[in-house]
C-alpha cells in the first residue's frame, strides 16, 4: 500500500490548525476556513447518511455557522460564558479519497471540556471533505460523529 505522506502531512497540518483555532476561540478565523456551501454536521443518528432529512444535533450552513459563532461571542449566552476551555487532540488521520478537487479525510478526536470544575470528555470520529485550492484547503463538510451521540450528552456551548 502506497501512502501519500505529503498529502497526509498537508491535511494533518490543516486540521491541527483548525483544532487550534477552535480551542483558542478564534471563531472568525475559523469561519474563513469554509467554502460557501460548507456544512458543519454533528449527527444525532450515527447511521444517517442523508443529514438534511434527519434530525441532527447540529447541521450548520454558512448562515447558521455565523449565528452560532455570534451567539458564542456575544456575551449573551450564560452557558458559553461558563465553558472555560476546551482542549482537543486529533490523531489517527487517514486519507480516504485523494482527488484533485476533493480530499476526504477521517481522524479520531478527543475533546476535553472544563465546566463548573468538572472535566467532560467527548471522543469522536471526524470526517472532513476538503477542497484543495491555491490558498490551501477549504472545508466543504465536517461530520463529527460523537461516540455517545446516541446516549445522553451534556449541553454543549462550544464548537466541536
Amino acid at each position: 500500500m502506497k501512502l501519500h505522506t505529503q498529502l497526509l502531512n498537508d491535511v494533518t497540518a490543516f486540521i491541527w490548525h483548525e483544532a487550534d483555532l477552535l480551542d483558542h476561540k478564534c471563531y472568525q478565523a475559523w469561519l474563513d476556513l469554509w467554502t460557501d456551501n460548507g456544512l458543519y454536521i454533528v449527527p444525532a443518528d450515527l447511521d444517517a447518511t442523508d443529514y438534511e432529512s434527519t434530525l441532527n444535533l447540529a447541521l450548520d450552513d454558512s448562515a447558521m455557522r455565523r449565528m452560532r459563532v455570534a451567539r458564542l461571542e456575544s456575551g449573551e449566552s450564560v452557558s458559553a460564558k461558563a465553558t472555560m476551555n476546551t482542549l482537543r487532540m486529533l490523531s489517527r488521520v487517514r486519507v480516504l479519497e485523494a482527488g484533485d478537487d476533493l480530499v476526504v479525510v477521517r481522524c479520531a478526536q478527543t475533546l476535553n471540556e472544563m465546566r463548573h470544575g468538572a472535566l467532560v470528555t467527548y471522543p469522536a470520529d471526524v470526517e472532513y471533505h476538503l477542497r484543495p485550492g491555491e490558498q490551501g484547503f477549504r472545508i466543504e463538510r465536517k461530520v463529527v460523529k460523537l461516540l455517545h451521540a446516541d446516549s445522553f450528552l451534556r449541553t454543549v456551548s462550544f464548537i466541536f
Binding site: 444525532a44 434530525l55 455570534a70 451567539r71 446516541d150 445522553f152 450528552l153 449541553t155 456551548s157
Partner: protein, 429 residues
C-alpha cells in the same frame, strides 16, 4: 442564628415541604425524598412512554423508563400496544436493548428464553428440566397497564388508578390543539435529542411552565432571529396566560395567535418561511395547503405540562426521567407530519436543531440555569424556592380554571399541588 430550622434535625416529610407559593429546597437534593418520589409519583401515576408513531408496525419496539425501571413499548401481531417490564423472568437480564427497532420476538441473550411481542413466554432451551417445575403461561414479561390518548402512550404500575382520560381531564382539549401541528397530516416523531443535567427532575418540571425566564436566559437565541420572529418571542407583555388544568397539569399560552393552527389561515406568510412556501409551491402544492403547512411549521404557541414527566412544548415533546436526586435525563422529541411534504418536515427539524437539544441555541442556557439552581440549593441550612409569582393577579379562565398572567408561576403551583397530594397519600397527618 438559631432561628433557622436545622433540617438535619427534623424528620423530612416531602409533602410538608410544599406550601402554596413556596417549596423547600431539600426537595431538590434529598436522596430519601427521591426514593419516595420514585415510589409515589413514578411507580404510581400515569407516566408518558412514547408516541404511537414511534412503533408504527407489527414488531416495532422502543425502550423507555418508568422512573428507574426499564420498559419496552411494543406492537404485537394484532397491532396492539404493550408496555412490558424489560426483565427476563428467568434470572432477570434485560431482553431488549437499543433505543428502538423491529423484531419478531424478544429473546433473552443469557439462556435464550423467548418472549412474544405481547410478552408471553413462548420457548426456552432444554425444557425437560422444567417439567412440573414451571408453567410458561405464568412467566410472561410483566405487563404494565397502558392506555393511549391522541397517540400519546402512557403506562402505570397502579391498576387501581383512574382511567387515563380522567387523569388528563382538562388537558385533553390542549392535547387535541397540539396535534394540529402536522399541518393536516398525523403527527409523527422525526427524531430526538438526548441530554442530561446534574440537577433534580422538578427543576425541569418547573421550567416548561416558566415564561419569565425566556427573554433573560434565551437572549442569545432571540438575537439570532429576524425582527418578525424576535417579536413573536417577545410575549411577556402580551395576552398570554397560564391555566391550572387540574391533576398537576397546566398550560402556558405564550403566543395566543398560535393556539389553534387551523385558524387564521389567510395571514400573510412570514418572511422567514417564504423560502419554505416557495419550495412547497415548486412541488405543486396548492395555495391552501401551503398556508396550512406554513402556519403549522413553527408549532403551537403554548406549552402543555403533563404531570409528571412529559410536556407538549410548542413544537416538540419534552420527556424527562429522574436518575437520582441530582441527575435528570431529558429527551427533546422532534415532531413532523406523517406523509407531509419533505420540505415541511425538513424545516421542522432545522427549527428544532436551532433551539433544542444539547447543541441548540436555547437548551444549553436552560441547562446552565438548572445546574445553578441545583448548586444553589446546597447553600445554607435552610431555604425556600419561591413559586408565588402572580398570586396577586389570578382569574377564572373561560373553562372555569384558576389562571394567571403568562409569566406567573401558576403552572408550577399546579404541579406542586399534585406532587403534594401524591406524596402525602397513605400517610397520617
Amino acid at each position: 442564628m438559631s432561628e433557622l430550622i436545622k433540617l438535619e434535625n427534623i424528620s423530612l416529610r416531602a409533602a410538608d415541604m410544599v406550601e402554596e407559593g413556596r417549596v423547600h429546597k431539600a426537595l431538590y437534593s434529598d436522596p430519601e425524598i427521591f426514593e419516595e418520589e420514585l415510589d409515589k409519583v413514578f411507580n404510581n401515576s400515569w407516566v408518558f412512554i412514547g408516541h404511537e408513531s414511534e412503533v408504527p408496525d407489527v414488531g416495532s419496539f422502543k425502550t423507555a423508563f418508568v422512573g428507574r425501571q426499564p420498559v419496552i413499548l411494543s406492537r404485537d401481531r394484532k397491532k396492539n400496544l404493550h408496555v412490558l417490564l424489560n426483565r427476563c423472568r428467568h434470572r432477570g437480564a434485560t431482553v431488549c436493548e437499543g433505543r428502538k427497532g423491529k423484531t419478531k420476538s424478544f429473546s433473552c441473550p443469557y439462556h435464550g428464553w423467548g418472549y412474544a411481542l405481547d410478552g408471553e413466554l413462548r420457548s426456552l432451551p432444554k425444557p425437560e428440566e422444567y417439567d412440573g417445575v414451571i408453567d410458561k403461561s405464568e412467566l410472561p414479561l410483566q405487563r404494565l397497564r397502558s392506555e393511549t390518548y391522541a397517540g400519546l402512550v402512557f403506562a402505570t404500575f397502579n391498576d387501581a388508578i383512574e382511567p387515563l382520560e380522567d387523569f388528563l381531564g382538562g388537558a385533553k382539549k390542549w392535547i387535541n390543539l397540539f396535534m394540529k401541528q402536522g399541518g393536516g397530516y398525523p403527527l409523527k416523531v422525526l427524531g430526538e435529542h438526548r441530554f442530561s443535567f446534574p440537577g433534580n427532575w422538578k427543576i425541569q418540571l418547573e421550567n416548561t411552565t416558566d415564561a419569565y425566564h425566556f427573554p433573560i436566559i434565551h437572549k442569545s437565541f432571540i438575537s439570532s432571529l429576524d425582527e418578525q420572529a424576535a417579536d413573536i418571542f417577545d410575549f411577556l407583555d402580551g395576552e398570554g396566560f397560564v391555566e391550572d388544568l387540574g391533576n398537576g397539569h397546566s398550560v402556558m399560552v405564550m403566543i395566543p395567535e398560535l393556539t389553534d393552527l387551523e385558524e387564521n389561515l389567510d395571514e400573510p406568510i412570514p418572511d422567514r418561511f417564504q423560502a419554505l412556501a416557495d419550495e412547497l409551491a415548486a412541488e405543486g402544492r396548492s395555495d391552501d395547503e401551503i398556508r396550512r403547512l406554513v402556519r403549522a411549521v413553527h408549532g403551537t404557541g403554548f406549552n402543555l405540562n403533563l404531570f409528571p414527566n412529559v410536556s407538549c412544548s410548542m413544537a416538540f415533546f419534552r420527556v424527562m426521567r429522574p436518575v437520582s436526586a441530582s441527575e435528570t435525563e431529558i429527551q427533546h422529541v422532534a415532531l413532523g407530519g406523517e406523509g407531509a411534504p419533505a420540505p415541511f418536515n425538513r424545516k421542522r427539524m432545522r427549527l428544532h436543531e436551532h433551539f433544542q437539544g444539547p447543541m441548540g441555541f436555547g437548551t444549553p442556557d436552560d441547562g446552565e440555569a438548572w445546574e445553578r439552581v441545583q448548586k444553589g440549593s446546597m447553600a445554607g441550612p435552610d431555604g425556600w424556592i419561591l413559586v408565588n409569582r402572580g398570586l396577586n393577579n389570578l382569574h377564572r379562565s373561560p373553562d372555569g380554571n384558576v389562571a394567571g398572567a403568562v409569566c406567573s408561576e401558576t403552572g408550577m403551583r399546579a404541579a406542586y399541588r399534585q406532587y403534594k397530594a401524591v406524596m402525602a397519600a397513605g400517610e397520617e397527618k
